[in-house]
């Protein structure tokens, strides 16, 4: 009896505890049980919301009209009520009317929509241009002009794996938070040039009213002008492989002064972090650096244990052919990927130092230490192969 009471008490506590951990609206993202499009913080987003209301209202009126007639019929024109069937089966006037009137309604719908399509496609005279590159499975941003010119970084999901697996409680920002958001100034026309380094992704931010597929080999541009300072969140919107749900987009809109300050800070940090490509690194330095690079770029497929998920994602731990073989083939693979597989080319995403470090790490981690030829790869080895 005591045990039953104990169990009941514990479950009640658990349930109330769970209920007490209420989900709140996501700042810059979906509200709890949101029913409609976001009003948004750009004119385009607001136009889209308006168009949707217009369509919804017109369609609802037509729906109620047509089904009002049908339900009237269902109730009144029943055999069980003794209703006798008429036999009419055509009426030219009515048929012409219900072809022409919908046609006119459709034209009416298309007119405001046309204005918005034309506006959405006009990327001219922008104040700032950024490049968004889709990778499996993160975004890369690069500033092509303005105060932050040449600032370049990756933007990766920052929700910890433990939250995804449920061993830690999830927050209101679950799955829509990143380490390095795209930062832009408020009230400026920002042109985003979108492309991909591997498969098709899609850059979507509902509050800004934008979506653009990221297509490898092609540049497609869109634009937005955020009217309010704040943080706005979106997600990848084209199936791109296993972590399609785990590569969100976060755009931080700052006042012009804050943006300029951020830009200056970024450019300084970039200069400071630039690695000297001719430096000779010690094995320990490379391994330490490489471990960080591996954790940020390789664990998704090759796993933290190095065991991978064969055959799709090969094991690196104990791999005689490449990791424990001569260094050149492994450098080639990291630089250029493996065609026909998910192994992406990291040529444009990592510096020589990072590539050298991660390769050195794989050659010395897990059970690989002390085995194989070429345990250390220097940045100059990598630049020689570019």
């Amino acid at each position: 009896m005591k045990k039953v009471r104990g169990v009941l008490g514990a479950s009640t506590l658990l349930l109330t505890g769970a209920a007490a951990a209420q989900v709140g609206n996501m700042p810059g993202g979906p509200r709890v049980n949101q029913l409609n499009l976001p009003e948004g913080v750009s004119v385009i987003a607001q136009d889209i919301a308006w168009l949707h209301w217009m369509m919804l209202i017109i369609c609802t009126i037509i729906f109620v009209g047509v089904f009002g007639v049908m339900f009237y019929s269902i109730i009144r024109h029943r055999k069980s009520r003794g209703y006798k069937a008429s036999q009419f089966h055509e009426h030219l006037g009515v048929e012409v009317a219900w072809t022409v009137i919908p046609f006119l309604i459709v034209i009416g719908m298309a007119l405001p929509a046309t204005r918005t399509v034309v506006a959405m496609k006009d990327t001219s005279n922008s104040d700032l241009t950024v490049k968004a590159v889709g990778y499996q499975w993160k975004w890369g941003y690069e500033y092509l002009d303005g105060a932050a010119k040449d600032v370049k970084f990756l933007s990766t999901l920052s929700t910890p794996h433990s939250q995804i697996m449920g061993t830690e409680p999830r927050t209101d920002l679950y799955l829509m938070e990143v380490d390095n958001p795209l930062v832009v100034p408020v009230d400026k026309k920002v042109r985003v040039v979108v492309t991909s380094a591997d498969v098709i992704h899609s850059w979507m931010v509902p509050d800004l009213g934008v979506k653009q597929d990221a297509i490898p080999g092609f540049l497609r541009d869109i634009w937005f002008r955020a009217q309010k300072v704040g943080t706005y969140r979106g997600q990848c919107a084209e199936l791109c492989g296993k972590d399609h749900a785990f590569m969100p987009i976060v755009v931080e809109v700052l006042s012009q002064e804050d943006y300029d300050a951020w830009a200056a800070e970024q450019r300084q940090a970039m200069a400071a972090a630039a690695d000297d490509p001719n430096k000779e690194w010690t094995a320990e330095e490379l391994i330490a650096r490489g471990e960080k690079v591996y954790a940020a770029n390789c664990v998704a497929c090759h796993q933290a244990s190095g065991k991978g998920m064969p055959p799709t994602f090969p094991a690196l731990d104990g791999d005689e052919k490449i990791v424990l073989g001569p260094k050149d083939p492994q450098i080639d693979i990291v630089l250029d990927g493996v065609a026909g597989t998910a192994m992406a080319p990291f040529r444009d995403r990592m510096s020589d130092t990072e590539i050298a470090a991660v390769i050195t790490y794989t050659r010395n981690a897990w059970s690989n230490a002390g085995k194989g030829s070429d345990p250390v790869v220097q940045p100059s080895d990598v630049s020689a192969k570019r």
Partner: protein, 533 residues
């Protein structure tokens, strides 16, 4: 085929070595050339595929019950999503309509069988081969393809051998469809009974004639698209590999040039079935027969001109966006005409609400919701916001499930007495209808909200704010899945001979030659063509 003169007494068959009645045992089915037997096999096959595809859906809805990953890694989840789509489209919906075509077209036009009875056999037996390839692809290294039923390049290039299995399966299923379509065109154009002009044909035959032309036109395009995927994967071509000078978007153009007419292939026969049921239970002729034919033809022609509305987010020039928006919105006109015609058929009819009529009315009601969300999606700026979100998932499930599948159920109940010779259990039929209608809406209506709020498609995990609607959808999905077992029971019960014996014409208001033959329809019917006034 009979070559005797028209005044011969039907009891004597023209063939000297013709077997009296169907063969015994497995030979009857493996070597079947009879349109009724082949129709039955198509229907059984498609129902099995419905259950397989449905199980995959329930697996993925189970994972989506809570945020986080509980049961499946995302890669396996995407295999389920992909195969759910491929199996439902190519294994369930399309073969089911072909099954109806096989059973009903010869009966409705007064023909003794389909034009090419042996090719018909081959068309059917290709299907289990394709289905086995699709199912076994799960057991290949790397599993089934996880690129979505649309198999976009370049993602599909990264898939393992399961993808090649799917490509081969699609070729085989496509060949089956093309042969079936040829059969239907020749049968309808060449084998109608004397006096049955094209404009006297039941609308079901019209919709299938037009659908067959669509199939012949676009299945080869799908074959081309997946063949290009295959050669890019294994034979060094670069159709879709940008680094080698190709274009990933080319795949989308080729695929959707098939894909858009494909969705009309899946709905036009449904329009035909509903156009048979509504007049029967309104005891009134179909309103505007001629407009229905023209509207169907208009929809079919327009369907070739709108494919890029699936590609509004790829970055088309503004002229392209506008053109495809206008052309897509235009399709709502002939579709609306059809809806109005059905309602006008009911207006001042003498209505009764047996199960077939419930499904037909349910179809009109719920398909129209899907039609409206399609019109909303046609508005390109709105599509930019909701493309690749659950809004699209809601739209196409409304038109494919509440549309095509409900029409199939309606037709099954309508013609089951003709097929089995028994009146099915009306109480259970109504239960199946209401259970399906309510659970369907519980499953898919919340998906409109999810999509508008920004929840993307093909996601194994989601932000917490979407949880409640996902949970409602999952509960609805299980309820909907279980409801289909009611249908299975009703059909098995009728086939096993339990139920009132059915007269030749069990439905008072039904019209058509199929109701002039006994129930169950004898193995051979219309050996002598009837004369139609």
């Amino acid at each position: 085929m009979s070559s005797i003169a028209a005044d011969h007494v039907p009891a004597q068959h023209g063939h000297d070595d013709h077997a009296h009645g169907p063969q015994k045992g497995w030979r009857r089915w493996l070597f079947a050339t009879n349109h009724k037997d082949i129709g039955t096999m198509y229907l059984i096959f498609s129902f099995m595929m419905l259950l397989e595809g449905g199980t995959l859906a329930l697996l993925l809805r189970t994972e989506l019950f809570e945020p986080g990953l509980q049961f499946f890694q995302p890669d396996l989840f995407n295999q389920f999503t992909t195969m759910h789509g491929i199996i439902m489209v190519f294994g369930a919906i399309m073969p089911a309509f072909v099954g109806f075509a096989n059973w009903m077209i010869p009966l409705q036009i007064g023909a003794s069988d389909m034009a090419f009875a042996r090719m018909n056999n081959f068309s059917f037996w290709l299907l289990p081969v394709g289905a086995i390839l699709l199912t076994t692809s799960f057991f290949m290294p790397g599993g089934a393809t996880a690129a979505g039923w649309t198999l976009y390049a370049p993602l599909s290039q990264q898939m393992g051998p399961g993808m090649d299995f799917a490509i081969l399966a699609i070729h085989i299923l496509g060949a089956s469809s093309i042969m079936g379509a040829i059969n239907i065109v020749v049968t309808v154009l060449g084998m109608r009974a004397p006096g049955m002009t094209l404009m006297k044909m039941p609308l079901f035959c019209w919709t299938w004639l037009i659908t067959a032309y669509l199939l012949i036109a676009v299945m080869p395009v799908l074959a081309a698209a997946v063949t290009m995927l295959l050669t890019d994967r294994h034979f060094g071509t670069a159709f879709f590999n940008a680094a080698a000078g190709g274009d990933p978007v080319l795949y989308q153009h080729v695929f959707w040039f098939f894909g858009h007419p494909e969705v009309y292939i899946m709905i036009l026969p449904a329009f035909g079935i509903v156009s048979a049921i509504v007049p029967a239970f309104s005891r009134k002729p179909l309103f505007g027969y001629a407009s229905m034919v023209y509207a169907t033809a208009a929809i079919a022609i327009l369907s070739f001109l709108v494919w890029a509305h699936h590609m509004f987010a790829t970055g088309m020039p503004v002229t392209g966006q506008l053109y495809f928006m206008y052309a897509t919105m235009l399709i709502s006109i002939p579709t609306g005409v059809k809806i109005f015609n059905w309602v006008a058929t009911m207006w001042r009819g003498s209505l009764s609400f047996e199960t077939p009529m419930l499904f037909a009315i349910g179809f009109i009601f719920v398909f129209t919701v899907g039609g409206f969300t399609g019109l909303i999606l046609a508005v390109a700026p709105i599509d930019i916001a909701v493309h690749d979100t659950y809004y699209v998932v809601a739209h196409f499930h409304y038109v494919l499930v509440a549309g095509s599948l409900f029409a199939l159920f309606g037709g099954a109940y309508y013609w089951l007495p003709k097929w089995t010779g028994r009146m099915y259990d009306e109480r259970l039929g109504k239960l199946h209808f209401w259970s399906s209608l309510i659970s369907f809406n519980i499953t898919f209506f919340p998906m409109h909200f999810l999509g508008l709020a920004g929840m993307p498609r093909r996601y194994a995990d989601y932000a917490l704010q979407f949880t409640d609607f996902h949970q409602i959808a999952t509960i609805g999905a299980f309820w909907f899945g279980l409801s289909q077992l009611i249908f299975l029971y009703v059909v098995l019960k009728a086939y096993s001979g339990r139920g009132e014996p059915a007269p030749a014409k069990p439905w008072e208001g039904a019209e058509g030659l199929e109701w002039t033959v006994p129930s169950p329809a004898p193995f051979h019917t219309f050996e002598e063509p009837p004369v139609v006034k």
